[in-house]
């Protein structure tokens, strides 16, 4: 259905004896916004640099637009990178910065002028053509960097933690703009970040990378609601990760131990009896003032007001669980709270039935 624009085949990268990327294979499609998400040092930036050619893979192959570019230098690859610190040439004006790539590729002047004007318009930098990077704000520098990349008319743009250095408000603004820009241009954005909010809001697909492996590759919604691993669940959004066991299974319902006294009945037809990891998002625990059906009791340890929601930490037996509350009931610290659970949204990670 979709065209593969970048293909990574069995990519392994070693620095000295340390393996940074372990045998990653990945297809990236035309026109998608894909994010490499992971903690620092997980190999996500290295993977991006292997695509751009700034880093050489120890093993494996890189294809861009169907061409094997594994041994090509960056200049010959049909991708461009937006660097984390923007890497604008300080001795050149905005115009000359954007023009640099076109000049190097010997694009005729009149065509270059048209393309630069269009790029400047797209990133809303009209009127700043003759400024130097040092005379621009962080957000404007970011725009120049993007314009310098998109003016090359390649089908793939690589963005390395590009919003990282902006302040929070500007970051939010740029997130929306980047997404809009990507849709408008219809090109592939490969975005690297350690910020899960960014990944969730902008991406069509997220690749969660951990210690050089792909932990999960899916749409933001799928990853959020069905994380494959405890790491993925923990990295995307908040969650209660409870190492526990299924004590017994009856009529497609698994009984999962929460504490010594409390068992949760969870619809199940996948998992076997035994040790499992139970993952519950805080918003899937519902706090009540009075007991409701199938609720269990806990004690409010901490109450944090956060605007739209209230974040509770509730002690249940020997565990502390995170609970989000959306109504206006006020639970004082030390008071009793009754909690029931959205059974269908509980995630179990453990041994599956054959």
């Amino acid at each position: 259905m979709d065209n593969v624009i970048v293909r990574l085949e069995n990519i392994t990268k070693k620095f000295d004896d340390k393996t940074i990327i372990k045998n990653i294979t990945l297809d990236i499609y035309e026109g998608e916004f894909i994010t490499f998400l992971g903690p620092s040092g997980c190999g996500k930036t290295t993977l991006l640099r292997i695509i751009s050619g700034l880093e050489e893979a120890t093993e494996g192959k890189v294809f861009i637009e169907g061409e094997d570019v594994t041994n090509e230098i960056p200049a010959k690859r049909k991708v461009n990178t937006i660097f984390q610190n923007f890497a604008l040439f300080p001795h050149m004006t905005v115009w000359d910065n954007i023009n640099f790539g076109l000049k190097m590729n010997k694009v005729p002047e009149d065509e270059a002028e048209k393309r630069i004007k269009r790029a400047i318009k797209l990133v809303q930098l009209d009127g700043f053509e003759n400024r130097y990077p040092a005379q621009l704000s962080g957000g404007q520098q970011q725009r120049v960097a993007i314009a310098r990349g998109i003016v090359m008319n390649h089908k793939v743009l690589l963005l390395d933690e590009s919003l990282c250095s902006l302040d929070l408000k500007l970051k939010r603004e740029m997130q929306g703009e980047l997404k809009k820009l990507q849709k408008k241009l219809g090109i592939t954005f490969i975005y690297v970040t350690h910020d899960q909010d960014e990944a969730l809001t902008m991406s069509d697909r997220i690749v969660i990378i951990n210690k050089g492996n792909i932990e999960q590759l899916d749409t933001p919604k799928e990853i959020y609601s069905k994380p494959n691993t405890a790491f993925a669940a923990d990295f995307i959004g908040e969650s209660n990760i409870i190492k526990t066991e299924i004590t017994h299974i009856k009529d497609d319902v698994a009984y999962v131990k929460l504490t010594d006294d409390i068992e949760l009945a969870v619809p199940n037809n996948d998992y076997k009896k035994g040790k499992v990891t139970l993952i519950v998002r805080p918003e899937n625990f519902n706090p009540h003032k009075n007991p409701v059906q199938e609720s269990f009791a806990g004690v409010v340890k901490n109450y944090m007001y956060d605007g739209a929601i209230v974040k509770l930490e509730v002690e249940v037996g020997d565990r502390i669980i995170k609970v989000h509350q959306y109504d206006s009931d006020i639970f004082e610290e030390g008071s009793t709270v009754y909690i029931d659970i959205d059974k269908n949204k509980v995630i179990i990670i453990g041994d599956k039935n054959e």
Binding site: L54, T81, F83, A87, P90, G101, M104
Partner: protein, 285 residues
């Protein structure tokens, strides 16, 4: 308490102030003064004001020496630049420990007197010296090359002696260039040569000019190199000045050439300033 502290502060500057006044400023003023005196034929001075010493500089004999000096100094500077840049840039891709070691190696020659080192070159360069014996012995050339007592010898000696003064400022400038800029340049399709001329060079031009000054100015004056490796046949401004003071015993004329040389240096520095260079990069002024 505060007052005492201030006195102490001034106290510590006294040696330097005395040093500068007594050993630099006063002699310089004396040189300036005698450059306007007449000389008598016995090496003495006649204390009457004249500009004739300065007029004498524009004699064709001396202009030839000036042009020759400038030529040798320019070639030396150019060769030093051509060695320093590739070296500095290649250092950037090395590990920090390797980099520091190599930079320390650049400074090793400073541990030994430059006069002695220059004499050492005779052993290498002369007709039956190590280089010629090696080249003839291996059959690369049939008869020995004239590597000294000519311009080649002088330039080899100058480059050898002055290279560290080029490498250090150039390296310092190059190491301040954000490596991401270089990657961005490659990423946007620039070749290595273009990346050098369009990114490295404009961003490190003050370092290059700094190094060039530090090589060019001594290269005009290092008379001992021309004496030793030029065999006394070739004169540069440095030899000319030395001869006026020690051989010809015409101190006023020697002083006039010295002042002229200082003026040329100041002009070069002001050009550098005009081009947007920072005085700090020259060691403050």
């Amino acid at each position: 308490m505060n007052k005492r502290f201030n006195i102490e502060k001034y106290l510590f500057t006294v040696p330097v102030v005395i040093y500068s006044l007594l050993l630099i400023l006063l002699p310089l003023l004396y040189v300036l003064l005698i450059s306007f005196f007449k000389s008598d034929s016995y090496g003495g001075m006649i204390y009457t004001f004249t500009l004739s010493n300065y007029m004498e500089i524009f004699n064709i004999t001396y202009i030839r020496i000036f042009l020759k000096s400038i030529g040798i100094a320019l070639i030396t500077t150019a060769i030093c630049l051509c060695i320093a840049y590739p070296f500095a840039i290649s250092l950037m891709s090395k590990k920090e420990t390797t980099r520091n070691l190599l930079i320390k190696l650049v400074m090793v020659p400073f541990l030994m007197n430059s006069l002695i080192r220059t004499y050492g070159w005779i052993v290498l360069l002369r007709k039956n010296g190590i280089i010629n014996s090696a080249l003839v012995g291996t059959g690369i050339i049939s008869s020995p090359l004239s590597l000294m007592y000519n311009n080649i010898g002088i330039i080899i000696g100058m480059v050898y002696t002055l290279l560290p003064f080029m490498i250090l400022p150039v390296y310092s400038a190059v190491s301040k260039v954000d490596p991401n800029l270089i990657e961005a340049s490659y990423d946007l399709g620039a070749s290595k040569t273009k990346t050098f001329t369009k990114i490295y060079l404009p961003l490190t031009i003050s370092g290059a000019f700094n190094g060039s000054l530090m090589v060019f100015i001594p290269a005009i004056g290092y008379f001992f190199i021309t004496d030793i490796l030029g065999g006394g046949k070739i004169m540069i401004i440095g030899n000319l000045i030395k001869n006026q003071f020690l051989t010809a015993r015409n101190w006023p004329f020697g002083a006039a050439i010295s002042i002229f040389l200082i003026l040329m240096t100041l002009i070069l520095v002001s050009i550098y300033k005009k081009l947007g260079g920072k005085m700090d990069d020259l060691g403050g002024m």
